[in-house]
């Protein structure tokens, strides 16, 4: 019973990583560049939930659209300042730029709302689901469903729609994409909008589930999201989903199984990442077909 509970714990915990990683991977999949400020969108949406509900006293249904809009705006700002001015040749630059932007965002939040964690009032109490002895947190269940749905939806979009093909074309070569008629700015902005939406949903559900938000909550989760993206394979949406669940399960199992690994939970997770890379240098679902001809 305890093991089943732990498996569920892992699954639910992983869904958060999945959702963030899908955002990461989506952006990478289009720009071939990393957006390390992505996890700050997650954090900001959590903080926004807190401010709107605890300070402005809005009901949840009124807060949600505002948070979504705010996160999309933030995503677009990130695109505007850290990606748009930078040409592809300098693909390292967005690394520094987005880390710095992440610092700016989180420091702004700290300055405006304090460095402490904040407790989010439980405006809607989503009660836990109890199946037999197994306890399932409803917000996390929703998180899992959202990740699944967005994975399926986005995979479909990437594979079979005009937008998806444009995204993939763009990720390979901006010039080629332009010559084929891809509206580069539109595609890039849409990607950021999509990714930010996912991060916002993650942030909100996180706030509801843990009833706590903090200006630093993006860092650790973001790092894991990054690892998940790599485990899944850059740009691979299904990979991100599976990687997230895998990471959640592994993290939980490091604690749950009597192997004396609780203190090493992180080492286990990162160790897995390294192992996977050793055997599959482009992640679990990254393409292993060599497309680079000599």
């Amino acid at each position: 019973m305890e093991l089943i509970q732990q498996l569920i714990n892992g699954l639910l915990q992983g869904s958060l990583y999945s959702l963030l990683a899908i955002g990461f991977t989506l952006i990478f999949g289009v720009l071939s560049m990393m957006n390390l400020a992505h996890s700050e969108v997650f954090m900001t949406s959590g903080i926004m939930v807190y401010i709107l509900i605890d300070k402005v006293h809005l009901p949840l249904y009124a807060a949600v659209p505002i948070v979504l809009a705010g996160s999309i705006a933030l995503g677009m700002v990130i695109e505007l300042v850290s990606f748009r001015p930078i040409r592809r040749d300098y693909h390292y630059a967005p690394l520094a730029s987005t880390i710095a932007l992440g610092i700016v965002i989180s420091e702004l939040v700290v300055n405006l709302s304090g460095s402490d964690a904040k407790s989010v009032p439980s405006v809607i109490h989503l009660s836990n689901l109890q199946i037999g002895e197994v306890l399932i947190s409803s917000p996390q269940m929703i998180l899992l469903l959202v990740s699944l749905v967005s994975m399926l939806g986005l995979s479909y979009i990437m594979k079979s729609t005009k937008l998806g093909r444009s995204m993939r074309a763009l990720s390979e070569s901006e010039t080629a994409a332009k010559l084929l008629g891809v509206h580069v700015r539109f595609v890039v902005v849409s990607t950021f909008v999509l990714a930010s939406l996912l991060a916002a949903v993650a942030g909100m559900l996180y706030a509801i589930r843990f009833e706590t938000v903090s200006p630093f909550m993006g860092t650790m989760v973001g790092l894991k999201g990054l690892a998940v993206m790599i485990i899944g394979g850059l740009g691979n949406i299904r990979g991100a989903m599976i990687g997230g669940i895998l990471m959640g399960l592994l993290e939980v199992m490091a604690i749950a199984l009597p192997l004396g690994l609780t203190e090493y939970a992180d080492a286990v997770v990162w160790g897995m990442l390294i192992l996977i890379l050793l055997f599959r240098p482009t992640g679990l679902m990254g393409s292993s077909v060599q497309t680079e001809r000599v």
Binding site: A96, A100, G271, L277
Partner: protein, 287 residues
Amino acid sequence: MEQSIFIFAGINIILALSLYVTMATGQLSLGHGAFMALGAYVSSILTVHFSIPLVLSFLAGAAAAALVGFAIGFPALRIKGIYLAVGTLGFNEMIEVVLRNVDYIGGASGLSGMSGTTLANVAVGTVVVLAAVLYMNRTRLGWAFKAVEQDEVAAQSMGLNVTFFKICAFTISAGIAGIAGAYYAHYMFFIDPQSFGFHTSLLILFYVLIGGYQTPWGAVTGAFLLTLIPEIFRGLEEWRLVVYGIIIVVMMAVRPQGLISEKTVKTIRSRFARKQRQSPSSISSLR
């Protein structure tokens, strides 16, 4: 200004140079905090527990880091780009967890009692490392690194052993980071695993990217500026980091190749060397 700043600047310059060396072969590492940690811990244990002379302990720290760098170099061969960056970040995190749990070196509580870093010996170290990297860059070894960075397949076909050069770069780089770690430990009197977490690695990346990853001068400039800037902006109080971040974002937007690019160095150099350069070419055009 307080001399500590220059000590930190020196240490950071060494770190930036160390990352520059791996990046010269196109390997992006976010694990340099770990190499720094190795240098710091090994040298500290030697001076604190075994009273080994400072210089020897530093060399041992560098050697230990280089050895691990060598070992990491092999798996790194197959892993490229962002995969390598995140993989090394994972390595950094793992080393941190391990250090946290080894009681002999103080675990999470850290290790203290080191001393000996002075402005003078940091200055010497910085200059020596910089000179070494600059020299290396001008030798064929440096050219080989660049070739590997730009096109591995072509480099192989030129007879360059890509494996060797990549591992060589990782080893040298880790060794240099180890030296920086040793300096750091013996200045701070105290080290703990958290001092070398991924934040440190990211900072090192910052130095190199802001200054410019194409030349050692860029790395030096980046490290120096980014050490100074926060001090200059101390008056801004809590807005300091915000401004710091904004400056970096703006810098990257304006100069994505970093402040000092290869071109900058060339321009400066040719300005100094204009006269010598012109004479031979005019002779050959007369011919």
